[in-house]
Symmetry: C4
Subunit: 227 residues, 4 copies
């Protein structure tokens, strides 16, 4: 069942290690088969070293396990909430990468101050609000999805493929698992550069024209970009 | 004598290198056999490269060497003090890891500002007070244990498995040597992220509800966590 | 055609990876054959892993492709503008290296505060101005060259072989591709050290005499330097 | 001639690379044979990769080349000045290591704020004054030694085996080449930790009693230290 997607998701999880985004098991990747309405996700608490595609867990869009002998990642309900809310995304990544997590802990939106950022994210990467007592004590991981989705009211998740969950860490997404991992790497790197820049010049900013130019030369109708 | 524990302690010392927590011989791990009342610890000043289980030193809970041709780590009396004071811990680690040590040198408690921290430490990681002239000139390494234990009055060492010794460096502990090393890695990573976050937003904080949720979903009665 | 230059340019692109200056395809190197008036540059969007000399693209000094089945890097018009304006340079490098890019995003000139900097760059590494609407909406990559060249009015590009493009990233150059890469490594390292130094002492500065001494003992008529 | 010392010096230079203290050729190590009054030092501008003991250069205590077909490092006169002024040292190291150099560029003494520092350096690591016009235009590398020696008036170079040369970088020394490299690694690490600590708490400080305890338990008459 979904053999090819399981391989992709397994590999994408291993790529988190290769890109230095995770220590221990602090990260997870999923991908969706939109036709089947099924999500493939990393199993819970399994180490990356030696992870196999057949260990991936299959869940439906209600978050019920459809296949797999292991439990899905405990962050699964957040992944599923995002697939339900953002119909064009095909992969989701969650990590506790150093700089992205530090911005999330600081509770600050990650400002768009450079073309590296604008090449992948059309605007500021938003940070969610504090969760309420009801959300924390209730179906916490699902409600984590809820606050992300609320934060994207009026924003285009296809143009801003990531978020900072306050006091927690980033989530990113993309057209598939590989693309979502790619966006995680970018988020971590722009988080690091924006941190250094903010220390050098707290007033730093960026011309909106330039932002638009960079996003569109790469993602617009007449895209031509390639370094 | 205690062959299996010596292997564990030796491996845990080598894991400090693997996780980038030590340079030269700046770190040491011990573990205790509670039934026998004996502690196995790294020998003094021995390089990690080529270290063997049979070089580990065995001491009793008064800090007297029971077996081993090498001297125990000079930090041994601190380890022994912790085993005596905290009856449920099975392993102790001391390193001069970069960010943990920097917070210790700054003399500041490491604040709990994210779920990465709350997944392992239920609250702020405390920093000890200045040592007195008597403590420094007396049985210094044992007194280092004393100030740690004093700092934990009213705190649960099983829920906060680590401390910053002021102007010195962190100690962590856990149910065994491996777990104590794991907590050292976590302490260093959360120290790094809290540093970056504090630079971004000196007023950062975290909802106590969220703290409790994260610690309990991993360590509480109904633990279910696993990324 | 230009076999030897293609090999050099390919190797110089791979050296960006070796020196940790790029992730993904975020960087490109070119070199010029001044006699032939032809520039060899990295192809667009090609990964470094497995890149071959025969994939390099040849363009003339109007930016027209003369040879190559792949498209040239989208930054090619900036490279060509620099070769046209600075007649003594033989190689150009563009990267989004972490600290250099952070200074560019902060929009601040990189000050000369140490001999490491002065050994390679005779003065502050300048940052360009904001681009106008016309420049951004027009021939953007070529105009990026224009603002660099404008910033160098009154400056000697042979003595200051690099620039920060505001909200974008650094460009460096040199007598050939290898030398331009060398200057990229230096720019990144001095950007990192100047960042740390500015945090420690915002008033830091450097005696102009010492600057001159270091640049001239290495690049002056009676150069004698070598660590 | 001095075969064994050449091997030691060559290996010590290669150790700078292993410890991540140098890029390109930005560092050099020497050692002295006190009986012969001869210094062995890295040749000028030679890459570390493939460096051989027989390439080392031998100079006397006036800085004259006694043996070797290559030129000595251009920093040689500073090394020689230190050997002449500090009669008990056996090895000297100069690097542009990142954090040590940043403190030197900031022009600030590196404060003693932790036991890691106190285990090797008995007090603050001093920063030299600005050099005068005469010193810079005169025998510059020798005068670099002069300002270091002047800064150590009233200080014990055996207890503080290193210095920050303002706007330049650190020099360290030790009983032999290996020990001097060891002190370079320590200086870089304590420079990094003191940087982070100063950002966290600009008022940080350390009890002089603790400083003395740590230095003496390792270097005093009754030394017993070993982690």
């Amino acid at each position: 069942m979904l053999e090819s997607l399981k391989s992709e998701v397994c590999q994408a999880n291993l790529d988190l290690v290769k890109h230095g985004l995770v220590i221990f098991t602090w990260g997870n990747v999923s991908a969706i088969d939109r036709e089947a309405g099924l999500v493939v996700i990393k199993p819970s608490g399994v180490a990356y070293d030696g992870m196999k595609p057949e260990q991936m867990v299959v869940v439906d869009l209600d978050g019920k396990v459809v296949e797999g002998s292991l439990k899905p990642s405990s962050d699964m309900p957040t992944h599923v909430a995002l697939y339900n809310a953002f119909p064009e995304i095909g992969g989701v990544v969650h990590t506790h990468s150093t700089y992205g997590t530090a911005w999330a802990q600081a509770g600050i939106d990650l400002p768009i101050v450079g073309t590296t950022h604008a090449d992948y994210f059309a605007d500021t990467i938003p940070c969610t609000r504090d969760m309420t007592e009801g959300e924390v004590k209730g179906d916490y991981e699902k409600e984590t999805g809820t606050v992300i989705i609320e934060r994207f009211e009026g924003l285009n998740p296809n143009h801003i493929p990531g978020v900072l969950v306050k006091n927690h860490a980033p989530f990113t997404w993309g057209k598939d698992a590989h693309d979502a991992v790619h966006n995680s790497v970018v988020l971590e790197q722009v988080a690091k550069m924006a941190y250094i820049g903010k220390m050098l010049n707290p007033e730093m900013g960026m011309n909106g024209l330039l932002t638009k130019k960079h996003f569109e030369r790469k993602h617009g109708k007449n895209a031509y970009y390639g370094q």
